[in-house]
């Protein structure tokens, strides 16, 4: 399989080489080779079941929670092999955060949701915690809506607010990379617009990788886009190139709506 490496001018944050993911004996994804640009947005698109979410979860070692799932190949974050011998997945996940498809706030207060990652990371100073909670909520464009009810239960928020809370929670621990698995697929158009705007803003400081089944969304938010099909990386390029001059016939068929 040929992979057209994009003409990467920005620094590379994540290097993926020949990554294959297996469920039992069956190969689910791969081999994938790509460079993910620092402080840019990279989108993975493709039809359902093409392996884009599985691949995303491999980037912060969430797949190993699934029994029978194993991996070959290499993923490096700033040169550090995240699947290296003796690497603790916990330390990987501290540097590579994740936002999930379904918002999953803890049944705790809004403030405690955001503070969770800080507390388990060993931060004890309450003033520092509340300062960082506020900053994360502001980054996630949620502060104005919740600042008067930080102690209310997070489950009382709307779906869009819950998802932004999850983003705030992930940002609070200041990861270097933020993985987002279809973060807006369960939201209405207005809440989706909020999230997309947010992705644009945080990509100034964070490397963002987003899985989406919505091609328009990829076109709107992503600097780079990868098209996956049946577990294979078909094409990876700058978003404008991929959507206007795809070099692969399958990519063109997909983005013009001939299948998927």
């Amino acid at each position: 399989m040929s992979v057209l490496a994009p003409n990467v001018t920005p620094a590379t944050k994540l290097i993926v080489r020949e990554l294959c993911i297996y469920y039992g004996e069956k190969k689910g994804v791969g081999p994938v080779t790509m460079d993910i640009a620092e402080k840019h947005v990279t989108a993975f698109i493709g039809p359902s079941g093409c392996g884009k979410s599985t691949y995303l979860r491999a980037l912060n070692r969430m797949n190993e929670l699934i029994p029978g799932c194993r991996m070959t190949g290499e993923v490096k974050l700033d040169g550090d092999a995240i699947y290296g011998a003796g690497v603790d997945p916990v330390t990987v996940r501290r540097r590579i955060g994740m936002v999930f498809q379904r918002s999953n706030p803890f049944p705790k207060s809004i403030a405690e949701n955001v503070a969770y990652g800080l507390r388990i990371g060993g931060l004890k100073e309450e003033r520092e915690i509340s300062m960082r909670v506020e900053r994360a909520l502001q980054q996630a464009a949620l502060w104005e809506e919740v600042k008067d009810r930080l102690n209310d239960n997070a489950l009382g928020l709307s779906g869009g607010q819950q998802q932004r809370l999850c983003i705030a929670r992930a940002l609070a621990v200041e990861p270097e990379v933020l993985l987002m698995d279809e973060p807006a697929s369960a939201l209405d158009p207005i809440a989706t617009a909020h999230i997309e705007e947010l992705i644009n803003e945080i990509s100034a400081d964070y490397t963002v990788v987003i899985v989406t089944h919505n091609m328009q969304q990829a076109a709107r938010v992503a600097d780079y886009t990868a098209f996956f099909y049946m577990g294979e990386l078909v094409e990876f390029d700058r978003t404008d190139v991929l959507f206007t001059k795809p070099s692969n016939q399958r990519t063109e068929d997909y983005i013009t709506g001939r299948f998927g």
Binding site: T91, R93, F100, N104, G121, A170
Partner: protein
């Protein structure tokens, strides 16, 4: 044609052929409804008869004095105060000893043990079998292991052979009952852990939490109401059982309340047995017996209802989380 399309067309033709219910169908339905309904009525009736009989006969003798006085005159007068105190103490100790072990076992089984390993299967089978052991066997086990082995051992080492713990005692009865109620706690806790959404675990792990932190700060708090349900059910079971405490600590009659862990104690369940079989004057004892049973039933009912309420609240909460 796909399998579903075939099934659909088969359904269509049969619907055209038999559009009306046949007499046979209707009779079958009616007879099943009636016979299964009758079975349900029998169950309700049994409970009804028990309740009516006990409330009717037991309520007269029930009074504040009955609940706060000791039995007198060979149990033909007085109340059941020492039995209530004894049961509360025994159940408290039982919970203290059994619940942590049961909860820890469930956490191991559900969170740490490899899902399909031989050891995990063995533990599960052991728990299921423990639940099926007749309670009198637990009583004998308590006598043999706790009283005669552990208790006598403690006496030999710490009390120079003097009989202190080497006899039936509150402590041994509570431990025996804790073993008996372990499966209840384990099963309820595992069910509660299973109900914790995977999304919450992933949220915690994705924030860089260790497995231990995830279990302690997310999984167990989320499961706490379910764990509480198991605890209440264990208490309710422990309050009603007689056989496990028969040889391990329950006393026929005690003029005083238990002084410590090595004292014997009275229990309403055993007291019912004593009143029913050992009374010198059956007629004088009868109202006392009824009232004791009423108290015992009321206690168990209250505990079971509490468990149901807690469980319903858990279900509501976890459905809210989705």
């Amino acid at each position: 044609m796909s399998a579903t399309a075939q099934a659909a067309s088969r359904r269509n033709t049969s619907a055209q052929r038999v559009f009306v219910r046949t007499v046979g169908n209707r009779l079958g339905d009616a007879s099943m409804a009636i016979s299964s309904g009758l079975a349900a009525v029998v169950v309700l009736a049994i409970l009804g008869v028990i309740l009516v009989d006990i409330v009717h006969n037991g309520v007269h003798h029930l009074s504040i004095a009955f609940l706060t006085e000791a039995p007198r005159e060979g149990m033909t007068a007085g109340g059941i105060f020492p039995a209530i105190v004894g049961m509360v103490e025994m159940v408290f100790l039982m919970t203290l000893a059994g619940v942590p072990v049961g909860v820890a076992t469930a956490i191991y089984l559900h969170e740490y043990a490899p899902a399909h390993s031989r050891l995990t299967r063995l533990i599960r089978i052991a728990v299921a079998n423990l639940a099926g052991v007749p309670s009198i066997v637990f009583g004998l086990f308590g006598l043999g292991f706790f009283v005669q082995f552990l208790g006598a051992g403690i006496d030999k080492v710490f009390f120079g052979g003097q009989k202190v713990y080497g006899q039936p005692a509150l402590l041994w009865a509570a431990l025996t009952m804790a073993v008996l109620t372990l499966p209840v706690v384990i099963v309820a806790t595992e069910e509660a852990l299973r109900a914790v959404p995977r999304e919450l675990r992933e949220a915690s792990l994705a924030l860089g939490a260790t497995k231990l932190q995830t279990v302690l700060h997310v999984v167990v708090p989320q499961a706490s109401a379910g764990i509480l349900t198991g605890m209440i059910l264990a208490v309710s079971r422990g309050a009603g059982e007689v056989a496990p405490i028969l040889f391990t600590g329950a006393a026929y009659f005690l003029p005083r309340l238990p002084k410590g862990l090595s004292s014997q104690f009275m229990s309403p369940s055993y007291h019912v047995y004593v009143l029913a079989t050992q009374s010198p004057d059956v007629d004088a004892t009868k109202p006392i017996l009824y009232s004791t049973v009423l108290v015992l039933l009321a206690l168990t009912f209250v505990l079971n209802i509490a468990a149901i309420v807690v469980r319903a609240r858990v279900r509501r909460q976890s459905s809210l989380a989705h």
